[in-house]
């Protein structure tokens, strides 16, 4: 070893580095190394249950739970979530906010300049902001009620933790409804008496046995049944397999009413009735017109079970204000289906037993209440509601609805509300005339136009002057519409706090970011099968929380400690005591009909199986006796005409279903001259909303040149010089994004698809900047469905696209080495 040339080192000998060197990072190990193969543990997720081999403190491999016969491919993405380079590793605070608090330059939000703080400081800042809001403003200034699809698990359910801890401090603004079914869940209680969207449907064996025709109205079962609200069982896929066989044997006809050939249609090898986007109501009205004119409808059923048909018929016949008869010829001009074909379709519906299954897509558009209502009117005219394999459902694509319920009770949850007596620090309930609860999708309007009065479901809402938002396990920078409008709104907020495990765009636009661990770094339990109630699944902690992340339970316990209410918050129980308590509550609730093992046995085995449920027909009881088993509507009957809604006096949701032109529509509709392509942003095939988009390797299996795919019609693509695999710029007046072209015959001319949940990654924080990954909500319109629901209208969206030319910007939506160029 030569030392002569290392004079600088000699010089350094004279320098004391003692003051410059910190403590070491390595120490002697105390315990001997464990086994070499690792240990198999069981856990659950929205994507299903699985077993994981954990070795050396790391999840090494994942395999589907043996009870799941149809596991989703998405299980491959789970490891990528845990070990994503996008993980939030430490509590972080936006730098300018840290320096200047509420006087910070909010136009910097989204520029990624943060500093790390200790948990203690982070919780103090969070608490101090809540305190400042309550004292300087009042409960109307804080919105801590926006929630999303969270992670599964009943003890750690993040929305509950946020709600309970913040309520122990004071009152805040809350929300009603959700982004998935806002219009549907609001209109259907008026029509059929329940939300319908979150309701068990007729069991598949009865449908397979009795239905001769199944109409899939804008629904894609094979795509959407991959995920569930609780731990998904995928039991419905067994029936879809049988359906496929029955179609092949020509025992059942399945027709998708859809502008695109869905994954389900391709899987089942079934038929399609093409329809122009957003024109379901004219098609339905013309079907009703045909049934009426040709005297094919079930008068007896309507007389016995429904109200208001007489008020509706004049509209059908053009005898009301609009003076337009809803003939098939009239509808053809709008929906693109030939008049004769419409008549044929109507006749087919009444010929034999017909089950109509409606998806959620057609209510996520402007006037989304109307197709839902009108579909119920059609089903009423067919007169098969309450018969096995007949009638209508709005949820057979969701969480294995249609798999019979066992009737067993699932586990409860960590309490969402503070316990009695009320000990909250700030008891002030004075909202200064603002509403304390707002429709879920109107919070951005509230920030931008505080004090504005809007109509919603029979009430007048005064939008509160929000100053602070708190999000936990919720990513509005994915699910809300119109990013550039959101940027403007966030300039007006004083403080934004987000709790999450991964750097979503919501985190990037926040001031305080708290690292939660993933659901696989904590102990929990969950219902196996949201609607089937198939069993209880243990969620055994696979690895300890990574970096400085903590469980939601710990995070909000720290906040409660700050309030001096830690014991009230936890009820003196730790994580495992809560898991055990929820399990034992479940044992007690089921003791008469479903004996369950003791907790220790359950935890060791990881699963309690309640078996299969008994087949059931939706609305059968109502059909049997509509007086005793009346519906939950105001009259107890099916309401073709709603006096209640009529009395609200709304313009865009009146006493009976109607056709309203959209703000934007393709195929000759408004705005299509300038932006001719309808952009649908349906639920993704390879994610759960935005969850798992950060899973790098799994994303690489579907991304195109590192971008979210845009599915294009071959003719439309060719006419713009675009080939499969090209980068495409998609734009309208609201924004612009880059996506990767997938050219496919599944998509008709004038239609394109970008699945929602693609992470937002703008070039920079400035308004109007190009989104580098392909979040469709960069382009969608933040428009309410109507005065009734005030729900999201994401599927009312026209765009134009072109081949991207020029210097390609790096994707900024994720961590990961590929994006550094």
């Amino acid at each position: 070893m030569s030392i002569s040339r290392r004079s600088f080192l000699q010089g350094l000998l004279a320098t004391s580095t003692a003051a410059l060197v910190g403590p070491g990072l390595i120490q002697a190990a105390h315990a001997a190394a464990g086994d070499t193969a690792g240990q198999w543990k069981v856990s659950g997720s929205h994507w299903g249950a699985f077993r994981a081999r954990v070795y050396a403190g790391k999840v090494q491999e994942i395999k589907a739970f043996e009870a799941d016969k149809y596991p989703t491919d998405m299980l491959k993405g789970i490891k990528g979530i845990i070990y994503s380079p996008s993980r939030i590793r430490y509590p972080m605070v936006r730098y300018d906010w840290y320096l200047n608090r509420e006087k910070s330059d909010t136009t910097q939000r989204g520029d990624n300049r943060f500093i790390r703080v200790t948990w203690d400081e982070a919780i103090t800042l969070f608490h101090d902001e809540l305190e400042r809001m309550q004292t300087q403003y009042g409960p109307w200034a804080i919105h801590a009620g926006s929630t999303g699809w969270r992670s599964t698990g009943q003890v750690h359910s993040c929305g509950n933790h946020m709600a309970r801890a913040i309520a122990m401090h004071g009152y805040t603004v809350n929300k009603v409804g959700d982004y998935s079914t806002g219009a549907g869940q609001t209109i259907m209680p008026y029509v059929l008496g329940t939300t319908e969207v979150y309701a068990q449907g007729t069991s598949w064996p009865l449908i397979l046995k009795n239905s001769k025709t199944i109409v899939l109205w804008g629904t894609d079962l094979v795509k959407n049944l991959q995920v569930g609200w609780n731990c998904e069982t995928h039991e419905a896929f067994e029936y879809l397999e049988q359906l496929k066989e029955k179609i092949a044997r020509k025992e059942i006809r399945v027709i998708s009413v859809d502008p695109v050939k869905s994954k389900t249609q391709n899987y089942l090898n079934s038929e399609q009735q093409y329809i122009n986007p957003q024109t379901d109501v004219p098609f339905m009205l013309a079907i009703a017109h045909t049934l009426y004119k040709e005297n094919l409808y079930d008068k007896k059923f309507i007389d016995t079970y429904a109200l208001g048909f007489g008020d509706f018929v004049p509209y059908l016949l053009g005898a009301t204000k609009d003076k337009v008869e809803k003939t098939p010829e009239w509808a053809e001009q709008i929906c693109g289906i030939k008049a004769d074909q419409i008549r044929e379709f109507a006749r087919m519906l009444v010929k034999e037993r017909t089950q109509i299954m409606v998806g959620w897509s057609i209510q996520r558009q402007q006037h989304g209440e109307q197709p839902y209502w009108m579909a119920a009117v059609l089903a009423t005219m067919l007169g098969q509601i309450g018969l096995p394999g007949g009638g209508i459902s709005y949820a057979h694509h969701y969480s294995s609805v249609g798999v019979a319920s066992t009737g067993a009770a699932g586990p409860g949850a960590f309490p969402r509300n503070p316990d009695k007596p009320d000990k909250r620090i700030h008891k002030n309930k004075d909202y200064k005339g603002y509403s304390s609860t707002i429709p879920v999708a109107r919070w951005v309007d509230a920030i931008l136009e505080p004090g504005k009065k809007i109509q919603a479901n029979g009430a007048t809402i005064t939008l509160p002057d929000l100053k602070m938002m708190v999000f936990s396990g919720c990513n509005p920078w994915h699910h809300h519409q119109d990013r550039n409008n959101m940027k403007k709104a966030f300039h007006k907020l004083e403080t934004v706090v987000t709790v999450d495990f991964t750097w979503t765009a919501t985190c990037r636009f926040s001031d305080i970011v708290l690292p939660a661990c993933t659901q696989w770094e904590r102990n929990d339990l969950d219902l196996y099968g949201s609607y089937s109630g198939r069993g209880i699944i243990a969620m055994q902690k696979l690895v300890d929380p990574l970096f400085q992340s903590k469980t939601d339970f710990e995070i909000f316990t720290l906040l409660a400690r700050k309030l001096g209410q830690e014991k009230d918050y936890t009820q003196g129980k730790n994580e495992m005591q809560w898991v055990k308590e929820l399990y034992n509550g479940c044992v007690e609730a089921n003791k008469a009909s479903f004996p369950m093992p003791d907790f220790e046995t359950f935890w060791k085995e990881g699963f309690v199986d309640f078996g299969k449920g008994k087949d059931w027909t939706r609305q059968a009881a109502f059909r049997e006796d509509p007086e005793i088993n009346s519906l939950g509507t105001p009259s107890g009957f099916i309401e073709i005409f709603s006096r209640k809604i009529d009395r609200y006096g709304y313009k865009e949701c009146q006493g009976h279903p109607m056709w309203f032109e959209k703000a934007e529509r393709s195929h000759g509709g408004p705005g299509s001259d300038k932006h001719p392509i309808w952009l649908q942003s349906c639920h993704p095939n390879k994610r759960l909303h935005s969850q798992m988009c950060d899973s790098e390797q799994f994303r690489a299996t579907y991304a195109v040149k590192g971008r979210e795919p845009i599915y294009l019609n071959p003719h439309d693509a060719k006419s713009r010089g675009i080939k499969d695999g090209d980068l495409v710029r998609v734009f309208n007046e609201r924004g612009q994004l880059l996506a990767g072209a997938v050219v496919s015959d599944n998509f008709p001319s004038g239609v394109a698809r970008i699945e929602e949940g693609a992470w937002y990654g703008p070039v920079d924080e400035k308004i109007g900047s190009l989104d580098t990954y392909g979040d469709p909500n960069t382009l969608t319109m933040d428009l309410a469905t109507s005065e009734l629901s005030q729900a999201t209208s994401a599927n009312t969206c026209q765009v134009q696209y072109e081949k991207f030319i020029g210097k390609v910007p790096a994707v900024t939506a994720f961590g990961g080495p590929k994006e550094i160029s």
């Binding site: 600088f8 990072l25 403190g57 993980r87 972080m92 300049r113």
Partner: protein, 208 residues
């Protein structure tokens, strides 16, 4: 020139690696930063600057210090730089983990982490449980290297050379390049470039 012993040289080498490890472990607080405005830190930088291979990176560090000096609470400004480079994600900066650069997946806790864990396990060592970081964090590697050097005492073992080449040099260039994409005061970019220059000179010397 006075004769310098190998063990003295090794102690200095170890101290330098530990110095880099300290800088890359966490943000400097007010007192720690003050040492680089007037104190031992200034002396150290001045001496390093004299070595031709290090001049450019030391100048970068000094220029950054000059930039932040007039700012109110310069330690916070530097903490924001630290976060931007090392603590958010690869989009904003350069996570200091070998796995991000060496694994096909680009995920954390990949084989380079496991290699470090295995190395530690074989010697009865663990990462300080309070420092909740993967074992392939650059600071942990540099800390370990300092220990290896001290352990070697009078000489340079093959293990030391192998560790530098296999565990550190395999990803250091990619990491340093990634830090250079971030635009801020440039302090940590300078530190990383200095580390890069130093370790390359060091390995050349000990192998000579």
């Amino acid at each position: 020139m006075t004769e310098t012993t190998v063990s003295e040289i090794n102690e200095t080498r170890a101290s330098l690696y530990w110095w880099f490890a300290t800088l890359l472990t966490k943000e400097l607080d007010k007192e720690q930063l003050a040492i680089y405005f007037c104190g031992e830190g200034v002396k150290l930088l001045d001496q390093l600057e004299q070595e031709a291979l290090f001049t450019a990176s030391v100048e970068k560090i000094k220029s950054a210090l000059t930039t932040i000096l007039p700012i109110n609470k310069p330690e916070l400004e530097l903490a924001a730089d630290f976060s931007q480079i090392f603590l958010t994600d690869t989009k904003a900066g350069a996570p200091p983990y070998a796995s991000v650069y060496l694994s096909k997946s680009g995920q954390l806790f990949e084989q380079p982490h496991q290699d470090m864990v295995d190395l530690f396990t074989a010697q009865g060592l663990v990462v300080d449980p309070n420092f909740k970081e993967p074992a392939d964090h650059i600071a942990i590697q540099l800390d370990y290297l300092g220990n290896l050097i001290i352990q070697d005492g009078e000489g340079v073992s093959d293990a030391q050379i192998d560790f530098i080449e296999t565990n550190i040099l395999s990803w250091l260039d990619m990491f340093v390049q990634a830090t250079d994409k971030v635009k801020n005061s440039g302090f940590y970019q300078g530190i990383c470039q200095l580390l890069q220059a130093y370790i390359k000179q060091d390995i050349a010397e000990i192998k000579a």
